[in-house]
């Protein structure tokens, strides 16, 4: 397969990213655990969660990643954070491989979807928010309080357990923890999808403010296009582990090039009632099996032609971004 020469048409110029991914692929062994193993076919084909993704995130920008459930967003986030090793390809954050102890040294932090699960229920809030510092040495006095204030919580809360907080507050605690590491890169994996709209607005505003004030680089993952639209400078669309389109946020939402992106945008329900049309081929069921050949999206694509079933489109440069479609 031919990977077209990536052209990064961002304002920061080509190939200068804090985060750089080149041909990153990650497989998982999908054979069932437990007794099911006995009956499993000898060697099931490995599941490819992320396939041949190349991208670059310039310092100080927010890169939004959208895609449906199971498209590999979280896996990609974990790869960048060094929590998973790529099966092939290269990942560099600040010029280093983020694997192992490096992640902490570089200053990579993550904010997770389920705030309750991302806080150790048996630790006090003060200890939680200062953990990245404590892991390296002594915690300066008053650090916990300062961090809590920074995310809009009461410094007196440092002695409480996470259970005592609402979801939005818990997410603020998680953000405070990320801040205590003086991070260069924050990976937000659906930070608000477990929250209510009113609380989501609070958290999104907080993240925007901190990003602006601290100059953070952000990989922002969400399946909610509106949130991505609100947060990201540049957006990548993931479909079955592959990057099918990438462009600056304004461009992507105004003029989506890939049929999948268009379908997603059409399907989003809108307050004015103008959305909610699932642009699918009639009678078709989503969650298609991976296409064995050709374009991964062709079984669901309204505009697919014969070529789409046989030839995999390369990700090629298009106006203000890249797109992987024969027809775009």
């Amino acid at each position: 397969m031919l990977v077209s020469v990536p052209v990064f048409a961002s304002a920061d110029g080509p190939m200068t990213g804090l985060v750089r991914l080149t041909g990153v692929t990650r497989h998982f062994d999908p054979s069932p655990r437990g007794p099911g193993r006995i009956l499993a076919r000898p060697r099931p084909a490995p599941l490819t969660a992320v396939a041949d993704v190349s991208l670059s995130i310039p310092e100080g920008t927010v890169y939004g990643l959208v895609g449906e459930s199971g498209s590999g967003k979280s896996t990609l986030g974990r790869l960048v954070a060094g929590l998973l090793a790529p099966s092939s390809g290269r990942i560099e954050v600040a010029g280093r491989d983020p694997q192992g102890a490096n992640a902490a040294a570089i200053g990579i932090q993550m904010i997770f979807q389920d705030p309750a699960a991302s806080l150790n229920p048996r630790w006090r809030v003060g200890d939680i928010v200062t953990e990245p510092v404590a892991a390296r040495g002594r915690v300066p006095r008053g650090l916990a309080e300062r961090l809590l204030v920074q995310v809009g919580l009461d410094p007196a809360d440092r002695g409480k357990f996470p259970r005592a907080f609402s979801g939005g507050q818990q997410q603020r605690i998680a953000i405070a923890r990320a801040l205590s590491a003086n991070p260069r890169l924050v990976i937000c994996d659906e930070p608000t999808s477990a929250l209510d709209v009113s609380v989501q607005a609070q958290v999104l505003n907080l993240i925007s403010d901190l990003r602006r004030d601290l100059g953070l680089t952000c990989l922002f993952i969400s399946h909610d296009l509106a949130v991505i639209r609100h947060m990201a400078d540049r957006v990548g669309v993931l479909y079955q582990g592959r990057l099918v389109e990438e462009a600056a946020a304004g461009t992507l939402f105004a003029a989506p090039r890939h049929p999948y992106t268009r379908m997603l945008l059409d399907a989003v329900p809108r307050l004015d009632g103008g959305g909610g049309r699932a642009g699918l081929r009639a009678g078709d069921i989503p969650d298609a099996v991976p296409a064995p050949t050709g374009c991964v999206f062709h079984p669901r694509c309204r505009v697919a032609v014969a070529r789409c079933a046989s030839e995999r489109p390369a990700l090629r440069a298009a106006a203000c971004g890249r797109v992987a479609c024969h027809l775009a």
């Binding site: 069932p32 437990g34 007794p35 099911g36 193993r37 006995i38 009956l39 499993a40 076919r41 000898p42 099931p44 078709d284 069921i285 989503p286 969650d287 298609a288 099996v289 079984p299 669901r300």
Partner: protein, 327 residues
Amino acid sequence: MRAHLIRRVLQSGLVLLVVGFVAFSMFRFVGDPVDNMLGPERTQADIARLRTDLGLDRPIPVQYARYLAQAVQGNLGVSYRLGRPVADILAERAPATLELAAVSGLLALVGGVALGVLTAIRRGGIATGVLMTLSLVGVSLPTFLIGIGLIYVFAICLGWLPSFGRGDTVQIGGWTTGLLTASGRRALILPALTLGLYQMTLIMRLVRSQMLEVLSHDHIRFARARGLPEWRVLFRHALQNALVPVITVAGLQLGSIIAFAIVTETVFQWPGLGLMFINAIRFVDIPVMAAYLMLISAMFVAINLLVDLLYLFIDPRLRPAQQRSGG
């Protein structure tokens, strides 16, 4: 699939080998069989001769290898105490233990499931409280005490049931069964009760907690919301799901029923494997001990394998997908 089954069996075989070796080497510490095999009028020369005859002068791994080589040919050695091939003794004794284990296992399973369901759906009732407490009494008393107590009450005081043995047995092929005669069935009651009671309470408690858990699941709510009758919700939907984890535990329990038979058989003079094992320990009858442990391990491994397969049968989620849906 075949390859995996084979691998699984090989793994089990490895487990057996390790078990066998551990057992075999441990027995050397229990005592020296030669001392018990010769009468008081023996000499040092007799001892040395017997030792060589039995191969006891070789290193343990060599002895074990020899033992294994013969074991695969169905020759498990010869009992030092009874002077008969161990394989024959096992074949003779196994029916008694297996019948006892099967009946108590069945008792434990049926009783445990029934009481577990009852206490789960009658949560908070008086009968439930009494049953739950009684079940704790069951696990708080050592088996031998329960056995002796049962003998005292039902055999001596009331005179209803026999206090020992298997009663009359009938030979069917190579299998002696006590299930076909009235006295055999009567003789089975107390030992089976003694042996099954503990497992029954365990299963009952497990079923209860599983039932309670499953009853709180969404699909039960949905079943009710569809207007299914309550009995159907309880027994078809809830119980079926509650029983899935019970299978593992029941499998493990069946293994330990066979092991606990040692105590029960001692108390009731039940002529099975456990009694044989205890006698073998007293006499340092290494071939019998080794064979018994291997047999127990083999049964256990087989039960485990069976449980795994049963899981596949019961829980479709564990089966490899035949046809993954899609469009």
